[in-house]
């Protein structure tokens, strides 16, 4: 077994120190070591995007990143979207517009949409929303309600005039 490396990672605003094997993926670190199991593994090839988390605000395949690469960085997972128990406007919109069925891709979709709305607070066109979420595969919904929900959330999140 390879030598372990000490890392310090901020996850959902909380600082974690850990020792990990160099080959440990960020996904396994989050799921197995921190017990943040809301990040789901769909393919482990970096294609399905179901393991997407935000690293320093950028959407990242946690199956393709090693935990050691997250050293000194900030990670946001679905568990950090609404830490006080309420629903984030995106979560609420996904619920109201039936934008999930099995729920497996939902954390990745939420985080991808969260990142997108930070760059396009008005949500843009349907085409743009579809392009933004095209890196996350959903096998249940056919995507239509996800597009609707992201647009609805953008309205909710817009600062009042």
């Amino acid at each position: 077994m390879a030598e372990k490396h000490a890392i310090t990672v901020t996850v959902n605003g909380r600082l974690y120190r850990a020792e990990v094997e160099p080959r440990r993926t960020l996904a396994d670190f989050l799921r197995e070591d921190l017990n943040l199991v809301g990040t789901h593994l769909g393919c482990e090839h970096g294609v399905c995007g179901n393991c997407t988390v935000l690293v320093d605000g950028k959407s990242t395949r946690s199956c393709l990143m090693f935990a050691v690469q997250a050293d000194g960085r900030e990670v946001l997972t679905v568990e950090g979207l609404a830490p006080n128990g309420d629903l984030h406007p995106l979560q609420r919109a996904f619920w109201e517009h039936h934008a999930l069925q099995c729920g497996f891709c939902t954390p990745a979709m939420l985080l991808t949409a969260y990142e997108y709305l930070t760059t396009r607070p008005d949500a843009g066109t349907d085409e743009e929303i579809r392009e933004a979420i095209s890196g996350v595969l959903c096998r249940c919904t056919g995507y239509q309600n996800i597009v609707t929900a992201i647009r609805a959330a953008a309205k909710q999140m817009a600062p009042s005039p």
Partner: protein, 805 residues
């Protein structure tokens, strides 16, 4: 039922946001891979690199020496300690948990490692040495049928597992008397449900009691769990399967037995809890749930006026190396083989062939989606031959509303329908006349715009006979497919509903239950909690599959509600000193009809039922709980000569999908102008979730039609073993859908509900194929195979242009 039918539904028919969602939105879904047991180990599987080979020798010693490895097992252990896996196959087609003596497809499990973590388990797999003696693989089903072809199962003596011709009605007479016959060779390739979550299980064997607990993301057929126990050679009473939410199935987790059996077996041999969750390659190579893989020769006989008379189907289906569900996927096709049309006779020849590939299982449609595509292709050919409008030839042949219940030539019954109503709604929704005009204008401008229409069936709620009516001497002619529910009102008056199969795999069982129970008792949905029994506590349950769950669980809930209401009324009648018949349920209370002030709340009654025995009538037991097992409400046996297959799939919905596309002939790419879908699956319980099913299913169908294919090379190697090669549609690949409904209730089911879980995928392949063919009509292209890739489109156009690019 009578009581609810007379009053306006309050919760049935409402687009209630799902009660399942809050846990998933927060990342607290508790999927199988999220669960951890104390002292739990992890498994990885070594898979065969050969499609066909004899296993000469396996050396596990280096793997066993790796620190962190607890146990390595091979086919030898399995042969000694286990029975083969369950199957509906007739004849010597046995599948073992790990290959015994030989491997029959690339990816078949050869050895399993149990280790401290998955990393070490996979390291250890690399250290297992297997000596194979490669055998010639048989990959093409037609070569597999040739004399002298390598045999997948030597004991069977042939690769043809099944071949029989069924004739329903006067096929030869109808063909002889028809004005025209069109014929086509059609090809539907292998694809797969491909849920985002793979199959997984945790086995936890308790040596103290000899009980094996298996947590699994599937639990269908609780009355068949003894089959898993039989494989494991343990008493069925000592097997406890605990159902865990599934991250999608679409059929792929339908009676998923191999992965739970694997986790259970490994736990028994390793002496600790063992988790085994397929990775994506495990799943693609080995999920036992590939979809249909069919080659068709089809002829349709019809008259000058467009009357469709008779249908001949000759199908070769490449089932792969094993045959777990027999040929049940063709039973599905036979349930609605003539579609919505008054076709009077049918010949159906099936040849089921074994090859060196992973076996077929269930994928949304279970084989009937293929028949829909085939039949709709043939109807389009007939329309083109006659120069008829493709909507009008369909309209002309529809079974009329007054003809229901309608018996089709195979013997199955269609319960109800108004197909013309659906067609008219769809034509209006898409604005058919407008697009017909646009198509003409586009063609004049040298653009390739096409319209595709399908009008097809969505059978729902299977009975079990389709798994065995193929055989004169079936191995196990089961006729049950029940679903159960238990309703408990706790001492505080709140509801707990227990389901008896794993109903959640992305559908909305808890929402359905909540809506039905709220309707039955007129209580607030927030007072209802839904939970799942494990297999040791489960009443007979079949689970989702074949679009059965909503109908069947509603039947169980209505039955359990009636029992519970009777008891509640007796308690309340005793207290209020009235006759139980004078009481009614309203807004969380039981009240005297006509004097709403004389009422008891459910929590008052519940408290009495649990705590105040001396206030109860003499013959009433303490507590408030009732269960009901609802059997399939309409199923009959096949005739002995199999000229009538009986009623086996009688709640038949209908849909019309219309796609409008425009093709770029240079690149083979196309864009959607419009996609409209109108469905009729009886009474709608929740329009919002039904829309979700239709949209998601239609997108899966588009995946099958346009992108997805399991490609094996001539040596039996899978060439599409990752999402880089097996293309699941992304958000950018699919259209926006306009969806509408018509509601024609079933006369046979509670509330008139029909199943609606598969209709999207049963329609969209036909609609997109027809639209693309219509767009390419100026080139005279006939589309006879899927997937329709851009390179194929360009090739067809080049061919039409005489090889000129």
């Amino acid at each position: 039922m009578a009581e609810v039918a007379t009053k306006r539904p309050r919760w049935i028919g409402k687009s209630m946001p799902r009660v399942e969602d809050l846990r998933f939105l927060r990342g607290k879904g508790r999927y199988i891979d999220d669960l951890k047991l104390p002292n739990m180990a992890h498994a990885a599987i070594l898979r065969s690199p050969y499609a066909h080979a004899r296993i000469v020798r396996i050396d596990t010693s280096a793997a066993e020496r790796l620190p962190g490895v607890y146990k390595v097992v091979t086919g030898k252990d399995v042969a000694e300690r286990m029975n083969p896996l369950p199957t509906f196959a007739v004849g010597p087609i046995y599948q073992h948990l790990l290959a015994v003596d030989k491997v029959r497809y690339a990816g078949e499990a050869v050895a399993a490692v149990v280790a401290e973590n998955r990393y070490i388990a996979e390291d250890a797999c690399d250290l297992i040495e297997v000596e194979y003696e490669p055998l010639p693989p048989v990959v093409d089903p037609f070569e597999a049928m040739e004399p002298g072809a390598p045999l997948v199962h030597e004991a069977l003596g042939s690769n043809i597992a099944y071949s029989r011709t069924f004739t329903f009605g006067d096929v030869e007479g109808d063909f002889a008397n028809a004005d025209h016959v069109v014929s086509a060779r059609l090809r539907w390739p292998r694809s797969s449900a491909m849920p985002m979550e793979t199959n997984g299980a945790i086995g936890d064997y308790d040596e103290g009691t000899g009980t094996l607990t298996i947590y699994a993301n599937s639990m269908n057929f609780t009355y068949f769990q003894w089959l898993i126990a039989t494989s494991l050679k343990i008493p069925a009473s000592k097997l406890k399967v605990v159902p865990i939410n599934a991250g999608g199935s679409f059929g792929s987790k339908f009676f998923m037995h191999k992965v739970p059996t694997m986790a259970g077996f490994l736990s028994m041999v390793a002496g600790r809890p063992v988790k085994y969750v397929e990775d994506r390659i495990d799943h693609i190579l080995n999920n036992d749930h590939c979809g249909s893989d069919r080659y068709y020769d089809v002829s349709l006989a019809f008259d000058n006026d467009g009357t469709l008379r008779s249908l001949k189907i000759d199908c070769v289906d490449d089932y792969g190396a094993y045959l777990q569900f027999g040929t049940g996927t063709h039973g599905n096709a036979l349930a609605q083989v003539v579609g919505p049309y008054r076709i009077q006779s049918v010949q159906y020849k099936l040849t089921a062939v074994l090859t060196n590939k992973n076996q077929q299982g269930a994928y949304r449609g279970f084989g009937s989606e293929v028949n829909n595509w085939v039949l709709e292709r043939m109807v389009d050919l007939a329309a083109r031959k006659l120069g008829m409008d493709r909507a009008e030839i369909r309209r002309k042949n529809f079974i009329r509303p007054e003809q229901f219940p309608y018996k089709i030539p195979t013997g199955n019954i269609y319960d109800s329908g108004n197909y013309e109503g659906v067609l008219d709604k769809a034509l209006k929704l898409v604005d058919y006349e407008y697009w017909v005009g646009e198509r003409e204008r586009a063609r004049q401008e040298g653009r390739y715009l096409g319209i595709g229409i399908v009008t097809a069936q969505e059978r729902s709620v299977f009975s079990s006979t389709e798994f065995w009516f193929w055989f004169d001497q079936p191995s196990f002619p089961v006729t049950s497919s029940p679903e159960s529910a238990t309703i408990t009102i706790d001492p505080t008056g709140k509801f707990v509903v227990t389901l008896h199969s794993l109903a959640f795999w992305g559908n909305s069982p808890e929402t359905v239950v909540t809506q039905v129970v709220a309707e039955e008792f007129d209580v607030d949905p927030s007072d209802i909690v839904v939970t799942y029994a494990d297999s040791q506590h489960a009443l007979p349950g079949t689970g989702p599959g074949g679009s059965r769950f909503t109908v069947m669980v509603t039947g169980a809930l209505v039955g359990a509600s009636a029992r519970l209401k009777e008891k509640i009324k007796k308690i309340a009648a005793h207290e209020l000193e009235v006759s139980p018949d004078d009481l009614e349920f309203s807004e969380g209370k039981v009240r005297v009809k006509g004097s709403p002030d004389r009422a008891l709340t459910l929590d008052q009654i519940a408290l009495k039922a649990y705590m105040f025995r001396l206030d109860l009538p003499e013959d009433i037991e303490s507590g408030l709980e009732a269960s009901y097992t609802y059997d399939h409400p309409y199923t009959t046996l096949p005739s002995a000569d199999r000229k009538d297959l009986g009623v086996f799939y009688p709640f038949v919905g209908h849909a019309c999908h219309i796609a409008v596309v425009e093709v770029d002939p240079e690149t083979g790419q196309f864009t959607y102008h419009k996609y409209a879908a109108v469905h009729d699956c009886g009474t709608v319980v929740n329009p919002m979730t039904l829309h979700g099913h239709i949209t998601g299913g239609a997108v899966q169908g588009l995946g099958t039609a346009l992108f997805e294919e399991y490609v094996y090379d001539e040596s039996g190697q899978m060439l599409t073993a990752s999402f880089m090669d097996y293309l699941v549609p992304t958000a950018m690949d699919v259209p926006r859908f306009d969806i509408d409904h018509q509601e024609t209730p079933s006369p046979y089911t509670p509330y008139g509900i029909k199943g609606g879980g598969e209709g999207g995928r049963m329609m969209s392949p036909g609609a997109i194929t027809a639209a693309l063919e219509d767009a390419l009509e100026p080139f005279g292209v006939r589309i006879t195979e899927l997937p329709i890739t851009p390179s194929k489109i360009v090739g067809w156009i080049q061919q039409a242009r005489g090889g000129q690019a």
